[in-house]
């Protein structure tokens, strides 16, 4: 099963530390030595606020990803429990962005510095990659001051399902046959 990061609206205070943490993890601390216009700032998650809810929204790393299924060039692949965008292959067609029911994909200027043949910027799909390959795992979880983000793994899901079934058994046992 794919892992995913889940936000908790009861803990989230909407401070957006996670969004900067995401960028710094992906672009590296070298951006603090670069000129302000020379690096890209593309958080892979967003804080959403309604009248009653505040929480981070990011890729669910679906088991049957709509984005992957519609990608015409195979730029989205399932790698090691995560749905990954291969920015090198992405042609910026935006189909995945439209297909994702969670709005977890946006289109951004590519951060690898590569340009199109005419020298103009490459625009590619951008989404949570669970900080694959980055020390310490998902940066959003690490920097959040209220512990409002959590990595959900297969084990967590199994434990949760098993706990719920136990609770269900206890409550169902109280119901008499009818």
């Amino acid at each position: 099963m794919n892992y995913f990061v889940k936000g908790n609206p009861d803990l989230c205070i909407g401070c957006r530390t996670c969004m900067i943490g995401c960028v710094v993890a992906h672009e590296g601390v070298k951006i603090f030595q670069m000129k302000p216009g020379e690096y890209v700032f593309n958080p892979k998650l967003d804080i959403i606020k309604t009248a009653t809810i505040t929480m981070p929204v990011q890729c669910k790393h679906c088991e049957n990803p709509a984005c992957m299924n519609v990608c015409a060039v195979g730029a989205i692949q399932m790698i090691d429990n995560a749905v990954m965008v291969l920015q090198d292959k992405c042609i910026g067609c935006k189909t995945c962005m439209i297909a994702c029911p969670y709005g977890a994909i946006n289109m951004v200027v590519s951060s690898d510095g590569k340009k199109q043949l005419d020298g103009s910027e490459r625009v590619v799909a951008n989404k949570c990659d669970l900080c694959t390959g980055i020390d310490g795992g998902p940066a959003c979880i690490r920097v959040c001051p209220t512990a409002a983000l959590k990595l959900v793994t297969e084990e967590d899901v199994e434990t949760s399902v098993s706990n719920k079934r136990t609770a269900a058994a206890i409550s169902l046992a109280q119901v008499k046959e009818y």
């Binding site: 009861d10 205070i13 957006r16 530390t17 900067i20 951006i31 030595q33 302000p36 001051p145």
Partner: protein, 724 residues
């Protein structure tokens, strides 16, 4: 070779501990440390807010050399010239118009407690005036004045870590998620531990969102609500009579005044159902222990001190003092605004809140400093424009202003008036780390070292003394704030010199009984020492909560009740200006943004011209869309900002964050002051909103304004562009 330096975060009063990671003399990142208040957590400013030390020149430019205005133009000079010129001009003005013609500020930000102590000593002993104040005046001065009256001490009675263990939190006019994320964390934890949360705020704040009860009252009605709660507690027999009898004075009078403040009476003032107010009062009164937290939504009103006293009275009625996780929490905004007050950068007291009008205290300081000291209270910060523009008698007017680590040209209300005052003053000294709007009016600029470049002590919002430490060498011809002030003082004929901040701290301690026990060694050893701490021995570890056992800080040990008549805000909406405006905070930015506005990732997240929060209904009525530029006008000024429709605000009310230079809401605010604390009513004024049809033109205006600000601030390369 890399090194890690433990220090205190320079943003907000939470007092978070962090490590600065330094490589090749440059800060490359920060790591949360296990501080008393932050327990290994930081918000975005703590994580990424050190970046301004690398001077990326996004909004302004770091000052690197002293400057003197010659023939109208600021010119770089050597330190000797700058110091001697400053001393000469100040002495001339002092001689001609007397010492009270000179005003100075303390600094609630990076400088630290020692520099503030030296500054107030300089103003009092070298200049000979009590005209010293700082930006506490525009924030928690009502809390200091109100609680001083009620309890005998103006600080938070509760500690930040204790918040999570209270049974009920009453949060009024305070949005910790934006102003103190690390305090917000404790509130979230309190909720998780089962505490009830009651929020009184006109907006749906993050705390309101997770609260058990949200009293979405009309702005400017705080006192009516607070007294109605008092009324209910008395009427329903929920008063802790033993506590009231044993520990307080003035209950009968209080009872008489709040008698008419029935929930029904205040319904139309607060726009809240009477039954809701009753329920809130009952919940508060019956909680085993309850704490009240407040911020600018209480303080920045023309009637602020009264509300603070009213809140203290609620806690007294219910016996919510004497133990941990109860009491009152005016949560101080800036990293060291508590310290500025602690050190006596106030017109009425020396360090440790010793009154200048108290003969014994004054004589003690006179003896230590070897000079006669002035007896009269000085001028509060917000009265500076009045004393420059309105006072006609040359001898009673202000002629010089020594502005240390503040930017009144951006942060004070009614900026037009403030700027006019800066123009009219004969002599303006600006001592700072970055060029700012005040600098444009200065006659002398004295460049100082910043947080990260010097040592010292900060006071956190809950009275905690903590060390700040030098991590990197300053770049440029800079001196520490206290060194600069000592040099000016010496040149004026009152010699001052110290070897280091510890020497200053020891002098301060020797004159301040309530801080005497907080030695550098003890702070070093314990990480944090909360005042009062009277004994130098390690036995006295400081005071986590005040008023233990219900013994209050007044000489008689009693607390005072207070109630009075509610007053409406000074400027009410009308046909011409039909909306209300309240200033609020941007979580990723701080104060006038000279620091965070020069941090790369924080400006990536939010940048000029800022937003105006409006209800979706109002947006629809005016045909406004999210992100559209709009003109906001008041009787005092006009600015452009972006529209942010949000269901979290009520129809007719608008909110702007005060950090922006283009969308500078203090161009609009009203200089209507609380009569006791002289704090401005930044939370309420009348405005109108003007749709801009030509959005392309408006976008260009904003872009051009940003470029012109950057040029004025001395940024050489415009090629970096601004992402707006």
């Amino acid at each position: 070779m890399g090194k890690q330096v433990l220090t205190t975060c320079p943003y907000c009063g939470s007092g978070c501990q962090l490590y600065l990671n330094v490589e090749n003399g440059k800060i490359v990142s920060s790591t949360p440390a296990n501080g008393r208040t932050n327990e290994g957590n930081l918000c975005l400013k703590g994580h990424y807010g050190w970046d301004y030390l690398n001077d990326p020149q996004i909004l302004t430019k770091r000052l690197t050399k002293p400057q003197i205005r010659k023939n109208g133009v600021l010119e770089e000079v050597e330190w000797d010239e700058a110091i001697n010129y400053t001393a000469k001009r100040l002495n001339e003005i002092k001689e001609k118009y007397g010492p009270d013609s000179i005003m100075g500020t303390g600094c609630a930000r990076g400088s630290g407690n020692e520099a503030n102590f030296v500054m107030q000593k300089f103003m009092r002993a070298a200049v000979g005036t009590n005209n010293i104040d700082h930006c506490a005046r525009v924030c928690h001065a009502p809390s200091v004045a109100g609680l001083q009256y009620s309890l005998g001490s103006g600080a938070m009675s509760i500690s930040i870590p204790e918040i999570e263990d209270t049974k009920l939190l009453f949060v009024i006019g305070y949005n910790p998620a934006e102003s103190h994320p690390i305090v917000a964390r404790r509130i979230v934890k309190a909720k998780q531990k089962g505490a009830k949360i009651i929020v009184a705020d006109p907006r749906i704040t993050e705390t309101a969102r997770i609260s058990d009860m949200h009293l979405q009252l009309k702005g400017g009605s705080n006192l009516a609500l607070v007294q109605a709660m008092g009324n209910v507690i008395i009427a329903e027999g929920m008063v802790d009579q033993k506590f009231v009898d044993d520990h307080t004075l003035g209950y009968e009078e209080y009872k008489k005044t709040v008698e008419k403040y029935t929930p029904e009476y205040v319904e139309s003032i607060c726009h809240l159902p009477a039954e809701t107010i009753r329920q809130a009062a009952r919940e508060y009164a019956k909680a085993e222990r309850a704490a009240i937290l407040w911020g600018m939504g209480v303080c920045q009103f023309g009637q602020a001190v009264d509300v603070v006293k009213g809140l203290a009275s609620l806690a007294l009625l219910t016996g919510n003092f004497g133990g941990p996780s109860m009491g009152v929490g005016p949560v101080r905004g800036q990293n060291n605004v508590q310290g500025g007050c602690d050190m006596g950068a106030l017109p009425n007291c020396y360090s440790g809140y010793q009154n200048v009008t108290d003969d014994a205290a004054r004589e003690k300081f006179e003896k230590a400093w070897g000079v006669k000291l002035p007896k009269e209270n000085g001028i509060p910060l917000t009265q500076v424009p009045h004393h420059v523009l309105d006072v006609k008698d040359e001898k009673k007017k202000l002629h010089a202003y020594y502005i240390f680590g503040e930017d009144p040209g951006q942060s004070d209300p009614d900026l037009n008036e403030m700027r006019e005052a800066l123009d009219k003053l004969d002599f303006v000294v600006m001592q700072d780390i970055y060029m700012n709007k005040t600098g444009l009016k200065a006659d002398v600029i004295l460049p100082a070292t910043a947080w990260g470049e010097h040592d010292g002590v900060y006071s956190s919002a809950d009275r905690g003394f903590q060390r700040i430490r030098k991590a990197v060498e300053p770049k440029g011809d800079l001196k520490t704030d206290w060194e600069i002030i000592c040099l000016v003082s010496t040149a004026m004929g009152y010699p001052m010199s110290y070897k280091n901040t510890k020497e200053i701290w020891d002098e301060m301690r020797s004159l301040t009984p309530s801080f005497f026990g907080a030695t550098y060694e003890k702070i070093e050893e314990l990480g944090c020492v909360q005042w009062p701490c009277r004994d130098e021995s390690m036995e006295d570890k400081g005071t986590p909560y005040l008023h233990k056992g219900g013994i209050f800080a007044h000489p008689n040990g009693k607390a005072n009740f207070f109630a009075t008549e509610w007053r409406a805000p000074g400027e009410i909406e009308d046909v011409e200006y039909p909306y209300t405006l309240s200033t609020v905070r941007e979580v990723g930015h701080y104060s006038v943004r000279t620091m965070t506005g020069n941090c790369r990732t924080l400006t990536n997240l939010e940048d000029e011209p800022g937003w105006i929060q409006m209800s979706p209904e109002d947006c629809e009525k005016l045909n406004l869309k999210q992100g559209e530029l709009i003109r906001v006008n008041s009787r005092r000024g006009s600015v452009m900002t972006r529209v942010m429709p949000t269901e979290r605000v009520k129809t007719g009310a608008t909110y702007m964050t005060y950090q922006w230079w283009i969308g500078a809401c203090n161009e609009l605010t009203v200089p209507y002051l609380d009569p006791v604390s002289n704090t401005p009513e930044s939370k309420y004024c009348a405005i109108n909103l003007e749709k801009i049809d030509d959005q392309a033109w408006a976008e260009k205006q904003v872009k051009d304004s940003y470029e012109s600000i950057r040029k004025n601030m001395g940024i050489d390369a415009a090629e970096k562009g601004c992402r707006i």
